[in-house]
C-alpha cells in the first residue's frame, strides 16, 4: 500500500500550486517604493587594460543618478574563495582579488567594469552604452586554451600570477610513487584522454538583486537569487563591503533554479547595496539572458588523461589521473574545491582498487568563472572512471557487467576507506547493478539490437556504476581539507499556541520541494497533519542560520537538524505533559500525537500541550519554561554516499551520426526515502541535465575569448525529444549509518551517473556496428562528431 501521509508518502508538492499558477514571488516580481535601476557595463573583449573611463557624459544623461566604476570599490574587500587549496609543493594557491567591478583590467567578455543607476531601466541602459563608448580599453591577447595558458609567463590573466596556474594539486601525494610503480608493472594499462565539456547553468530565472538602505536605522536589505542567503550575507557583509552582519538582511524569495550557479556571491549584489546606500533609494538589477551566459559561473571544463592498470582478467590495480581544470578569470567561491576535493576524492569510485592518484592543475583563463554545477567534480570523476573502465573492457574483451561486479567493494567491507581518503559508511553496489540489469532486460538486448539493425540503425547499451559524496558537511573534515567555512545546518521548530507549526530552516528551496518534504517529516514525528506545518526559508531575519542548499545537503544535513529540533520539542512536550498529567517525566510516552502516562489511559494531545505551553497559568516556572520552540544545529560525522547503476540504451544512425536515446534505467541507493515522487523528480531532472551534457550542450569560446554560444540559438539545451521516458528505481536501500533519518542525497545523482552511460552506449553501438576504430568521442556526442568519428 502506498503511504498517503508523512515519511515515505508521495505527497504532492504544495509549492507547485503557486508556481504553476503564476503566483510565485521572485526577486524581479518585487516592486519597492522609490526604486531605481542598475545596468552594468561589461567588457566586450576577453582581456584588456582599461586606459580611461570618462563618466561625465553618462552621468549627465537624463535620469542618471550615479555612475560607479572599479575605482569606487578599489578600497573595499574582494569576493573571496571559500576553500584554500595547497599545491603539491606545499605552497598556497594563488588567489587574485576579485573586485566588485573590474579595476585596471578586464579579464573576460562580460566582466563588469562600471554600472549606471538611473530612474528608469531605459535611461540606465542608454547611459551604460554611453559609458561604454567613452571607455578606452586596450585589447590584450586572450588566454583561452588551458594548455597554452599554463606556464605562459608573458601573457597573464592576473599580472601577479606568473604562469596562470592557481595550484598544482596531488591527491594523495603519498600515493604517487606506489601508483606509478603499479602502473609500470601492470599486465595491462588502458589510457584515455577526454574533455569534460564546459556547461552554462541556465537556471530558468536569471540572477536578480534589489539593494535597500534604511538611513533611519542604518540597516541594509538585499533581496537576491541565492541558494544560501546566510552565506551571501557573510560574504557581502564581512568580506566585501564591511557591513556588520546584524545590519544586513538577505532575502532569497522564490528562486527559479540554481544548479550551483546561485550559491556564489556576485559583484552585482554588492553594487546594488553600495548604490542604495549612496542614493538612499532602492536599486534593482535583473540579468538579461545574455548577461547570464556571460557572467553566471559556468560548470565542468576539465581536460583529463586517465590511466587504468589492471590484470588481464580485469581486476583493477591502479587509477592515475592528470587533469587540467579551468577556473576562468576569477576564483568563484567554490571554484577551488570543485576540481579537487569534490573530484579527486571520488577517483576510487565504488571499486576496491588499491592504488589511486590524482593530479589537478587549475588554470586561470580569460573566460567566465567556472564553479560547481549540479554534481560539481563528481560528474567529472564518474565520467573519467566509467569511460576508462568501459574502454578497458573492450581492450581486454571482457564483459562490462562482470568487470564491475568483480571490482566492487563488497557489503562486508564497510565502513571502507578508499586510497583517496573517503570513508564510505555503507552501500550495496552489487544490488543496484543486479537491479538495473533486471530493469533493462540485459539478456534481451541482442534481440533488440537485431531489430534495430533491420531498420538500419546501430543499437548500443552503456553502463555506468557511480558513487558520490554528498550532504556536503562535516565541518571538522572540510576544515582539514581547507574549507574556510563550517558546513552544518540549522532549524528552528516553532509550535504556535493553536498547535500549528512553523519550521525555519537553513536549507533553501529553489525547486527541490522542501516546503512539501520537510512537513512530511514533522508530521510523522509529531503526529500532526502535514497541512499544519509551514516551512520558512530564505530570509536571514527569520531563520536561525543555514549554509543553504547545494551538494545534495538539504535533507541529509538541514533535514536532520530539523529532526533533532523535533526531538527537543518532544522532550519539552513530555515535560509539559508530566506537569499537566501529574506524572513523572520518565513515565510519559509520545506516540501518534499523544503524550500518555505509560500503563494508564491518561493522555494529552499534542495540541493541548502546545496550548498549555503558551497559556501557562499554573506552571512551576522554576523548572518549566513556557513556550514550545526549539532550535538545533547539526554537523554530521561524514558525507553521505549514495550510489547506483545506470543503463542507457541508444540507437545511432550511421548515415547522419544522430543519437537517439531509447531507454534510460536508474537503480539508485539513496538510503531511506522521504517522498518517492520527489526523489523520482530529482533523478529525472539530473539525468536530463546529464543527457544534455552528453548529447547537446557545449560552451565554446573562440581563440579571442569571444563566447560564441551566448544565446539559445547557439547553446543547445536538451529538449523533450532528446530524452526518453526514464525508468527509475530506489528500492535498494542501505540507510546512511550516521544520520538518524538514514538518508543520503539524491539531487545530483542523475547528473553524475548519466553522461558516461550515454557515451558508453554510443561507443557500444558503433563498435557492435563494425566501426571498431571508434574508441572514444568527446561530449557532446553530436551528429557531426559521431559522423566524423565513423568516417575517420
Amino acid at each position: 500500500m502506498p503511504k498517503d501521509h508523512g515519511i515515505g508518502a508521495s505527497t504532492k508538492r504544495r509549492e507547485d500550486v503557486r508556481f504553476l499558477t503564476g503566483k510565485g514571488v521572485y526577486t524581479d516580481d518585487m516592486r519597492v517604493y522609490g526604486q531605481t535601476y542598475a545596468v552594468f557595463v561589461r567588457s566586450q573583449v576577453a582581456h584588456g587594460r582599461i586606459k580611461s573611463i570618462n563618466t561625465g557624459n553618462a552621468a549627465a544623461m537624463p535620469g542618471v543618478l550615479a555612475v560607479f566604476t572599479g575605482e569606487d570599490f578599489k578600497d573595499v574587500g574582494g569576493n573571496p574563495a571559500g576553500w584554500l587549496i595547497k599545491s603539491r609543493n606545499g605552497e598556497a594557491m594563488r588567489e587574485p582579488k576579485r573586485p566588485v567591478l573590474a579595476h585596471s583590467k578586464v579579464r573576460h567578455v562580460g566582466d563588469a567594469y562600471a554600472a549606471v543607476i538611473a530612474e528608469t531601466y531605459a535611461q540606465a541602459k542608454d547611459a551604460a552604452q554611453q559609458l561604454a563608448d567613452d571607455t578606452e580599453i586596450e585589447e590584450l591577447p586572450a588566454i583561452v586554451d588551458m594548455a597554452a595558458a599554463l606556464g605562459n609567463t608573458s601573457n597573464r590573466v592576473h599580472d601577479e600570477i606568473p604562469d596562470n596556474q592557481c595550484y598544482d594539486w596531488g591527491w594523495i601525494e603519498d600515493n604517487r610513487a606506489a601508483v606509478d610503480a603499479a602502473i609500470k608493472a601492470a599486465p595491462h594499462v588502458t589510457t584515455l584522454e577526454l574533455v569534460n565539456n564546459r556547461l552554462v547553468p541556465n537556471a530558468m530565472e536569471p540572477r536578480a538583486s534589489i539593494g535597500e538602505y534604511f538611513p533611519g536605522t542604518g540597516d541594509y536589505k538585499l533581496t537576491t537569487t541565492s541558494q544560501n542567503p546566510h552565506l551571501t550575507r557573510l560574504l557581502v557583509a564581512a568580506f566585501v563591503l564591511g557591513i556588520p552582519e546584524n545590519k544586513l538582511t538577505v532575502v532569497a524569495p522564490d528562486v527559479g533554479g540554481g544548479f550551483g550557479s546561485k550559491i556564489y556571491h556576485y559583484g552585482e549584489e554588492a553594487l546594488v547595496l553600495a548604490a542604495a546606500k549612496k542614493l538612499c533609494r532602492p536599486v534593482r538589477w535583473t540579468a538579461e539572458r545574455s548577461e547570464s551566459f556571460l557572467s553566471d559561473a559556468h560548470g565542468r571544463d576539465h581536460v583529463t588523461k586517465i590511466e587504468l592498470a589492471s590484470d588481464l582478467e580485469g581486476n583493477f590495480i591502479a587509477f592515475r589521473t592528470e587533469t587540467m581544470a579551468n577556473v576562468g578569470a576569477y576564483l568563484s567561491n567554490f571554484a577551488t574545491v570543485t576540481p579537487t576535493f569534490l573530484h579527486g576524492t571520488l577517483m576510487a569510485g565504488p571499486y576496491k582498487v588499491p592504488h589511486v592518484y590524482v593530479n589537478v592543475k587549475t588554470v586561470f583563463t580569460n573566460t567566465a568563472p567556472v564553479d560547481a554545477y549540479r554534481g560539481a567534480g563528481r560528474p567529472e570523476a564518474t565520467y573519467s572512471l566509467e569511460r576508462v573502465v568501459d574502454k578497458m573492457c573492450r581492450e581486454l574483451n571482457l564483459d562490462p557487467f562482470e568487470v564491475r561486479r568483480k571490482n566492487f567493494i563488497t557489503t562486508d567491507m564497510f565502513p571502507y576507506t578508499t586510497p583517496v581518503a573517503l570513508a564510505y559508511d555503507t552501500g550495496n553496489y552489487h544490488a543496484t547493478l543486479d537491479k538495473v540489469m533486471e530493469m533493462a532486460d540485459v539478456a534481451g538486448f541482442e534481440k533488440r539490437r537485431a531489430e534495430s539493425a533491420k531498420r538500419g540503425k546501430l543499437r548500443g547499451m552503456g553502463l555506468s556504476t557511480w558513487i558520490e559524496a554528498c550532504g556536503i558537511a562535516p565541518s571538522h573534515l572540510v576544515g582539514i581539507l581547507g574549507a574556510r567555512v563550517g558546513l552544518y545546518d540549522a532549524a528552528t521548530v516553532r509550535v504556535n499556541a493553536t498547535g500549528n507549526i512553523s519550521v525555519m530552516v537553513g536549507a533553501h528551496s529553489h525547486g527541490q520541494g522542501h516546503e512539501t518534504v520537510f512537513p512530511q517529516i514533522v508530521a510523522s514525528k509529531l503526529g500532526v497533519p502535514e497541512s499544519s506545518v509551514e516551512i520558512v526559508h530564505g530570509d536571514t531575519s527569520k531563520i536561525p542560520f543555514g549554509m543553504g542548499s547545494y551538494g545534495s545537503r538539504s535533507l541529509a544535513v538541514c533535514g536532520v537538524a530539523m529532526d533533532k529540533a523535533l526531538d527537543k520539542i518532544v522532550a519539552k512536550g513530555k515535560k509539559i505533559a508530566a506537569h499537566m498529567l501529574e506524572a513523572s517525566e520518565d513515565d510519559i510516552t509520545f506516540e501518534d500525537g499523544r503524550f500518555s502516562v505509560a500503563g494508564t489511559d491518561k493522555a494529552k494531545t499534542f495540541g493541548e500541550i502546545a496550548f498549555s505551553a503558551y497559556v501557562p497559568h499554573n506552571y512551576p516556572l522554576e523548572t518549566l519554561e513556557p513556550g514550545l520552540e526549539e532550535t538545533a544545529f547539526y554537523d554530521p560525522a561524514n558525507f553521505t554516499y549514495p550510489a547506483g547503476a545506470y543503463i542507457c540504451e541508444a540507437e545511432v544512425d550511421a548515415e547522419t551520426g544522430k543519437v537517439d536515446i531509447l531507454a534510460f534505467y536508474c537503480a539508485d541507493d539513496f538510503g531511506n526515502i522521504m517522498n518517492p515522487m520527489i526523489v523520482e523528480g530529482q533523478v529525472h531532472g539530473g539525468v536530463g541535465q546529464g543527457i544534455g551534457q552528453a548529447l547537446v550542450e557545449n560552451t565554446y569560446y573562440d581563440s579571442n575569448g569571444q563566447l560564441l554560444t551566448g544565446s539559445y540559438m547557439d547553446y543547445a539545451m536538451p529538449r523533450a525529444t532528446d530524452v526518453p521516458f526514464y525508468t527509475v528505481d530506489y528500492s535498494c536501500q542501505t540507510p546512511c549509518t550516521h544520520n538518524p533519518l538514514g538518508v543520503k542525497g539524491c539531487g545530483e545523482a542523475g547528473a553524475i551517473g548519466s553522461p558516461p552511460a550515454v557515451v558508453n552506449a554510443v561507443i557500444d553501438a558503433l563498435q557492435r556496428g563494425g566501426h571498431t576504430h571508434v574508441t572514444h568521442i568527446d561530449m557532446p556526442v553530436s551528429p557531426s562528431r559521431v559522423w566524423s568519428a565513423i568516417n575517420g
Binding site: 566586450q44 573583449v45 567578455v109 552604452q129 561604454a132 563608448d133 545574455s290 551566459f293 556571460l294 573562440d702 579571442n704 569571444q706 563566447l707 560564441l708 554560444t709 551566448g710 544565446s711 540559438m713 547557439d714
Partner: protein, 180 residues
C-alpha cells in the same frame, strides 16, 4: 574566420592600384558604407551600417592601409565598433599582378567579431564575412570596369548625364578625396 579568393579585373594594374587607394572607391564598394573620410596615409574614418543575423548596427571605425608595396600589394585593416552590437575586426591583404591585359587580384580576408555579434551571430558570421568580401570585390570590379571609369565620358549622347568616372573625380575639381 579566413577566406582567400581571386578575380580577374579588366583593367591595368596601375588603374586597379589607384582605385584601391581611393577613399571614394572604397566608400562606393564597402557594402553599407555611409561615409568614408581621410587619406591613404592617415587612414580612413568610416561609418558602415550592417545587419548580421539578428543584430543590426552602425559601425564606426578606422581603416588603415599598411604593408604597402607600391602598385602590387596592400593590406587594409580596420576595426568597427557597433556599440551594443559588439565589434568587428578584419583585414584584407590584396595583391595585384598583370594577367593578360588585365589584373589578377588576390585577396586574403581575416575577420573577427566580438561582443553580442559573437554571442548571437557566430553561426552565420563566416557566411556573412564571405558575402561582404564578395560584394566588396564585385562592386570594386564593377566600378573599375564601368564604362568611362577612367576618363570623362567621351560621348555624352544620352539624355541623362553620364556617370563621372572615379578617376576624373579623383583628380578633377570635384575631388572629395581629402578630408571634408
Amino acid at each position: 574566420m579566413q577566406l582567400t579568393d581571386q578575380r580577374i579585373i579588366n583593367a591595368a594594374p596601375e588603374t586597379v592600384w589607384a582605385a584601391i587607394m581611393n577613399p571614394e572607391v572604397l566608400k562606393a564598394c564597402v557594402p553599407g558604407c555611409e561615409s568614408m573620410t581621410g587619406s591613404a596615409a592617415e587612414g580612413y574614418a568610416a561609418v558602415v551600417v550592417q545587419k548580421v543575423g539578428p543584430v543590426s548596427a552602425r559601425f564606426t571605425g578606422l581603416v588603415r592601409l599598411s604593408d604597402i608595396v607600391e602598385g602590387r600589394e596592400v593590406t587594409l585593416s580596420g576595426e568597427g565598433k557597433g556599440g551594443p552590437a559588439g565589434f568587428a575586426k578584419g583585414s584584407a591583404k590584396v595583391t595585384m599582378a598583370p594577367e593578360g591585359g588585365g589584373t589578377l587580384l588576390t585577396y586574403e580576408v581575416n575577420a573577427n567579431v566580438g561582443g553580442k555579434l559573437a554571442q548571437l551571430g557566430s553561426r552565420i558570421i563566416d557566411g556573412f564575412a564571405k558575402k561582404m568580401a564578395d560584394q566588396f570585390f564585385e562592386r570594386f570590379q564593377e566600378t573599375i570596369e564601368a564604362p568611362g571609369a577612367e576618363e570623362e565620358t567621351v560621348l555624352a549622347e544620352g539624355e541623362e548625364a553620364p556617370k563621372r568616372g572615379w578617376l576624373r573625380r579623383m583628380f578633377g575639381n570635384e575631388s572629395k578625396g581629402g578630408k571634408e
